[in-house]
Amino acid sequence: MTTAPLLIGHPLASKEHARHALLYMCRIRKFEEAVEDLFGRGMMHGTMHLSIGQEASPTGMCMALNLTDQITSTHRGHGHCIAKGADLTRMIAELLGKEIGYCGGRGGSMHIADVDTGNLGANGVVGGGIPIAAGAALASKMMKSGKVVVSFFGDGAMNEGAFHEAANLAAIWKLPMILFCENNKYGMSSSTEKAFAIDNLKDRALGYGIPSVNVDGNDVVAVYEQAQIAADRARNGEGPTLIVAETYRWKGHSRSDKNLYRTKEEIEEWRLLDPIPKFVEKILESKLMEQSEIDAIQAEAQDQVIAAVNEAVKAKSAEPSGLLAAVFKEISA
């Protein structure tokens, strides 16, 4: 097993909380590096969208959620999935087309999701998850389940009709929903400057009567604090919140990206704002841990990912024989 128990609360609330936030961010980083490596070695099929540099956003957001709270995710969804508590072995196994993979090898990188930890699905369609999150939030309200639903999406998704229609529904029905935009400055090659005529994406919420806030998406503490406020609003029946987390995608959009639309200098500048050392500094300042303990956590994340890869590689490949039967859920008697 390569899961780690979830912990809810402020990343600096205790040593355990700090350990959790750091471990999770490092798990995401090491996972993504492993994916890149598997790809490079020709062991993985298809494409990949890495979230290296964005680890603080899902980690901070999910530390404000209960296990039963739900998320919808995106094509760049490995981090969301891990932050919500998924098992790394089953994630890698999915990428390798194994039977024990989360989707039985049918979904791959863009569809990995652990439904047991509240992940309603990654999505190959930009914006596709936002109305679905609104619907899950509607169900929460109708069924009085108390669940909060977070939709993760990118800056680019904000220009899809799906965002606009879902935001309005969430607003008028006061749904227990958080619209969480990871503004990593590009939708593929389109910078936010080119794709938007407003300077601050959070202003989009104004038109729907939804409160919104900007947050440093590379600061897990800041993300958690805003996430907590938004989750409280949702739980109190006050409706949705838009959080715009300012972050950056270090790697190319996918495997075929030549990075022609941005400069090396810009990428370098953002690499200096690495969310992991940023949090390490805060931990040291808070005196919750010593450097040696921090090093041990980083090594632990690496070990967990290596163990997951080793286990997944050995697992049985998915077989085509069950495909036809997999299309529909059986009607129960």
Binding site: H45, G46, T47, E94, G97, K98, C103, G105, R106, G107, G108, S109, M110, H111, N123, G124, V125, V126, G127, G128, G156, A157, N159, E160, G161, A162, G187, M188, S189, S190, K194, A195, F196, S256, D257, K258, L260, Y261, S317, A318, E319, P320, L323, L324, A326, V327
Partner: protein, 332 residues
């Protein structure tokens, strides 16, 4: 300059460039078609050659993009809109099916929509269910749309030029596995057109007629070569445009061979290729058949991710080979 071997991506780019040079009202719009050169590199350097005003990068907003193309088209421009994956035409379907396809008819002919929507489709890249579909029956079932499914670079070039000339909306479906491989035949230089609505007899034989679309033409070709060595000779027909559909060569061929195998990549249920079977069944050539019509198509499932699953979901060369040999051997 003489004819050369090009890939489908190069041939499509060449056709777009010729159209750009011929007519100032032609322009390209779509997600990442500019500096990035398109998700599959089809527009490549066109942004540098023609500038940002004619090679328009758009936000991620398929409904808006296609709607803008429809509006620009009926107002006098000739847009080529690229949708990054054909799967995302779903977002734009109102503008495609309810607007573009119907405007000329509904408005009594007062307006028309000279727009081309180019989009990659098909499986084989491990991109899974939402990035691998063959949606040609969606478009082929909407009167008012012309639908082109090129199988090779030379056809893609000539057909795209005709599509851009056409005063009606044309959906141009490019198989993404064909983008990077050169065709069997060289691509003519110059601006020669291939008319829409004319099927191509790719090769002629006497034992079996195969009608295949898109990438299945290429797979079927391999089978024709292989079975020729076994003494089985096959006629291979590529409809090239599926709306309108040219059945005449199919009838003529079946009258000679008496056997028909149809092949498409998309799911069999309600697939386009069924239209070929239906028209055959209603034709006077039907009586020439000495064997039941055989259909090979994708499984009725979403395209799975893992390579071993993805392969199982769509017809492979071996499947076509077995079907072709069986029908010839079993029906004499």
């Amino acid at each position: 300059m003489s004819d050369r071997m090009l890939t489908m991506a190069e041939a499509v780019r060449e056709a777009m460039s010729i159209a750009f040079d011929e007519r100032p009202e032609v322009f390209l719009l779509g997600e990442d078609v500019g500096i990035y050169g398109g998700a599959f590199g089809v527009s490549a350097d066109m942004y540098h050659r023609y500038g940002a005003e004619r090679v328009l990068d758009t936000p991620i907003a398929e409904l808006g993009i296609v709607g803008a193309a429809v509006g620009a088209a009926l107002a006098g421009m000739r847009p080529i809109v690229e949708i990054q994956f054909s799967d995302f035409t779903a977002q734009a379907m109102d503008q495609i099916a309810n607007q573009a396809a119907k405007i000329h008819f509904m408005l009594g002919g007062a307006l028309h929509v000279p727009m081309v929507l180019r989009t990659p489709q098909g499986s084989g890249t491990g991109a899974a269910a939402q990035h691998s579909q063959n949606l040609e029956p969606w478009f082929a079932s909407v009167p008012g749309l012309k639908v082109v499914v090129p199988s090779n670079p030379a056809d893609a070039k000539g057909l795209l030029l005709s599509a851009i000339d056409d005063p009606n909306p044309v959906i141009f479906l490019e198989h993404k596995l064909l983008y990077k491989i050169p065709g069997r035949d060289s691509v003519p230089v110059g601006s020669g057109r291939i008319p829409l609505g004319v099927a191509k007899v790719v090769r002629e034989g006497k034992d079996l007629t195969i009608v295949a679309t898109g990438i299945m033409v290429n797979k079927s070709w391999e089978v024709c070569e292989k079975l020729a060595a076994e003494g089985i000779s096959i006629t291979l027909i590529d409809p090239r445009t599926i709306s309108p559909l040219d059945m005449q060569p199919v009838y003529e061929s079946v009258e000679k061979t008496g056997r028909l195998l149809v092949v498409q990549e998309g799911p069999s249920h309600a697939g386009f290729i069924n239209e070929v079977i239906a028209q055959m069944a209603g034709s006077s050539s039907f009586g020439s058949l000495i064997a039941p019509i055989k259909r090979l198509a994708g499984m009725n499932i979403p395209i799975p991710y893992a390579p071993q699953l993805e392969k199982a979901a769509v017809p492979q060369i071996e499947d076509i080979e077995i079907a072709a040999r069986d029908i010839v051997k079993n029906w004499r």
